[in-house]
Assembly symmetry: C2
Homo-oligomer: 546 residues x 2
């Protein structure tokens, strides 16, 4: 049994180190060392990672790397990349890297990249057929719309990619996504679509996800009203259980396989990305995979201190476990990345939102913080007050692109000016002297300056990381996603939790299964606590009033 | 100078009380007292508020009410409702209740509800004209689309309401919202619209918001390309500065006033709601206002212990200051409320994300936590792992409606089964004995049961509030919004912060203003810290590569 993480020598040194340097303001750190940006930034292809506005010193990074070595990060990395069953509680490998690998990856004696290549070839043929109009609907019309039915890992990845990369393709069907079991979602989507021109992708690893199957049944009925028995020609499936998909009525040549060695939240580069191939083109999906591969190779080979995902993961550990931060924001200054915060929320919180170690012991330290966020500059007008002057400190990742895909140059300059200004303001703040001088310069009377002053001071010292991409290409998006995948893995190794299971979602599912038949029965229900009974009985009584 | 909040007798009693009862699990609380739901739930019109799954006892609520009285909540409530300058740092009243009041509200000797009524009458005439097709575009065609340009408080409220209530109106123009200064947003929106049939609402209290004015200029140019000098007939404005709107070219009879006694994040019931009146109909906007008024009257009159917003606000104080929670989720199990988390994020974090009291002292206690969330059941498949088994505890508001506006009954039953099951699972959890029994029932071998067991235990005891609405009518939405507005006000009184200013957004704005001209100049920029210089210079260098 390995010792608790908090007992490791490097953990204890980091605790000491934190005490010794905790009073140092980011302002001072920059003033003291003009080389700080050079020291604490890394580049990979068109990506700049600037972590110099984090509350770290060289010694911090040295000790964090020491911690990583004491936690055997390099060995765990090798294990994951070579198909060991790192998802021990489910006795599975976590081989998302095999989905985009350039060299063979062996698992149980087989090179799994061959299977992957076969599925990708099927996707390629199918996507080309649909996009060229060779593969048509039952009524002989080309598919103008693709409707993806999936939830969680079968939804957020393709949703993010289709939205972020829509500038890559002006032809091809439009992509739509329905995930929620709330009937409003599917009803609203179908109101905008026509059965004759809609291709439906049912994406569920088990082909047993309640939400997805209810939506699939509703959509099949809608297709059948329009197309009768030919409706099935409008269905495809993405699943690890082809038999169940076939039993639902999906034609065998429209079933695209996934495998149990790919977790839902890590599956974008598998057939789960089919909507991307259909809507944006397989060539762009391949570029996205190539970008992820480039990051995989960097993660596999670069020394810990120069390794982008390692550095990001270690900084999160520093912020969570040594500075006590309970939340981290993701703030893309790019409308096309508006789904990134939701995507990362699942990736990070479902992977590391655990308090029991791989060995089954209580972790005894904090794990995943809340991950949340939204696009800038919208977020500035919503909750940046809280960032600048709130009582808690939450680190944030700021993300922007140098070159936009529109022609409104003034807009892009204003957007980037805000992007640069916010991390500067959060780091430096504004002391009373500066604040008072600013108010006097605006002509305020001394009495007003005095009473306003406390409200106009900014403590600063709020840590941020900036990621600047040359351009939002498919390749850059793939690299960005893989960056965060591996960052999360790094954290999971330090925190000693399994990043690839999700037992925490089971209890709610099983209780919902017990409640569902009660909603068909008589009032009063009395099998639960008084709150759950009270809520159910209120529902049963009030829904009847219609 | 009032004493610090933490020194108040009730605060100290609450600290003691928390220690004394902190070990009591929600499971035990329910097992001990079958009347718990009755005790800790309230109704108002079609709204049920169930807070019995919070970690409270009767004594907790009694002490919290005592704290509220020691903080003079009732006097502050009266002050706000009667037009006192409760926004002291800006020397303004906070009279959003006057926007929907049934009786006169005096401010500076005037009954402001008269001015409000005049603006509402203008909105009514205008909305009816547009919706009936009487008021048309420059080319003689009816307006099929309304494009709202605004950000923060001029965006999130009407965006939420138009989306949530779209089932109320099948006629009338479609509403679109562009807020971000990222040019992708406006470029994508305009690609879907035609100048001849698009009515543009420029919504900015100061008519000086950078994002909104850049977008407005882009849209005006787009209109002029299609409509020449008649383009201005497609513009309206919502602003407290009619002169600037007129100078921009908005016709005088299309300028709808707001006032500096309404804060952006509290302004939905003002002319900021114009897109709602246009897209959904003024009669529904009036119902929304009536629902807010009903909640205002309840807030003004009900005793603290039976007062929905007071109870919710006090529970947040309990969770933040006595249980140490740093984040709270908002989880609508209703696709139509998908914008509610973003709306509340601004309302709560911008209002209470402060660490200086009204008197200018350091607060010395925690204030607004992170507010975040997304719709159920999507959220279950994204980050509920974290809720159930993560290392931190975050309370959550669960919101659902008894009666949907679609016909997919099976979907709604499944949705509500999940809604009920999740708060039950979070409260009760599952101990090792139950978890082991469940695995044995599934036929697992003893060795597997033993190794899996720690991963399948749920601690439970995770606090939630459930809000169940009969139906998502405009009236219900108005009441829900006012519920949260007043909840936030209650917290601000206990935390002793001004809920109506937002000085924390100024520094970033002024730094962006300094950086913008640098982005037009030469490399290298060296006027900032090395990180900000480095980022700016990377941008200046890389954007040129195109």
């Amino acid at each position: 049994m390995p010792s608790a993480r908090t007992a490791l020598p490097a953990w204890q040194k980091l605790t000491e180190h934190q005490r010794a340097q905790s009073r140092l303001h980011l302002r001072e750190r920059f003033d003291r060392d003009p080389g700080r940006f050079r020291k604490f930034s890394l580049t990979l292809e068109g990506m700049l990672l600037d972590y110099s506005k984090q509350r770290i010193e060289e010694e911090t990074m040295r000790l964090l790397a020491e911690l990583a070595r004491e936690c055997e990060l390099e060995a765990w990395r090798t294990r994951m990349l070579t198909g060991a069953r790192v998802n021990a509680s489910e006795d599975r490998a976590a081989l998302h890297v095999a989905l985009r690998a350039g060299t063979p990856v062996r698992f149980e004696g087989q090179d799994v990249t061959r299977e992957v290549a076969a599925v990708l070839a099927d996707m390629r043929r199918f996507a080309r057929g649909v996009r060229s109009g060779r593969i048509r609907g039952a009524a002989g019309r080309a598919f103008t719309d693709v409707l993806n039915l999936g939830i969680g890992g079968s939804d957020l990845g393709p949703r993010l990619a289709c939205d972020a990369l829509k500038h890559c393709s002006r032809s091809g069907p439009r992509a739509h996504f329905v995930s929620n079991v709330d009937g409003s979602a599917i009803a609203d989507a179908l109101a905008r679509l026509a059965p004759a021109t809609t291709l439906v992708v049912i994406s569920s690893k088990t082909f047993g996800t309640q939400e997805t199957l209810l939506n699939a049944a509703a959509v099949r009925a809608w297709l059948e009203r329009g197309l009768k028995s030919k409706a099935v020609r409008h269905l495809c499936a993405v699943t690890a259980d082809p038999e169940r998909a076939a039993a639902f009525g999906v034609p065998a040549d429209r079933i695209f396989r996934t495998w149990d060695w790919v977790g839902g939240r890590y599956s974008l580069c598998s057939a789960v990305g089919l909507p991307v191939a259909l809507a944006i083109g397989m060539e762009h999906f391949d570029e996205l995979r190539a970008g992820a591969r480039a990051m995989d190779e960097h993660f596999a080979q670069a020394p810990l201190e120069k390794n982008l995902p390692v550095v990001m993961g270690l900084i999160e550990v520093w912020n969570v476990n040594f500075l006590g931060c309970g939340a981290r924001a993701v703030l893309p200054y790019d409308e096309r990345l508006r789904w990134l915060p939701a995507y990362l929320q699942q990736l990070e919180m479902e992977s590391c939102g655990k308090s029991v170690t791989r060995d089954g012991a209580r972790a005894g330290h904090a794990t995943a913080p809340v991950t949340w966020g939204s696009v800038g500059t919208d977020s500035q007008h919503a909750y940046f007050q809280w960032f600048h002057q709130g009582s808690a400190v939450a680190p944030a990742d700021f993300i922007a692109c140098c070159r936009p895909h529109h022609r409104l140059r003034g807009h892009h300059q204003a957007l980037l000016a805000n992007f640069f200004a916010q991390t500067e303001a959060l780091a430096r703040g504004m002391d009373a002297e500066q604040a008072a001088a600013g108010m006097r310069a605006q002509g305020l009377q001394e009495a007003a300056v005095r009473s306003l002053l406390p409200h106009r001071v900014f403590d600063g010292n709020r840590p941020t990381t900036s990621i600047l991409l040359d351009e939002l290409t498919p390749r850059a998006l793939g690299a960005l996603i893989a960056l965060y995948e591996h960052k999360v893995f790094v954290q999971s190794v330090i925190w000693n939790v399994n990043a690839f299971d999700q037992w925490g979602v089971e209890l709610g599912k099983s209780l919902a299964g017990r409640i569902l038949p009660e909603l068909e029965g008589a009032v009063p229900v009395s099998t639960h606590d008084s709150s759950t009974n009270g809520l159910i009985n209120t529902y049963l009584t009030r829904r009847r009033r219609t």
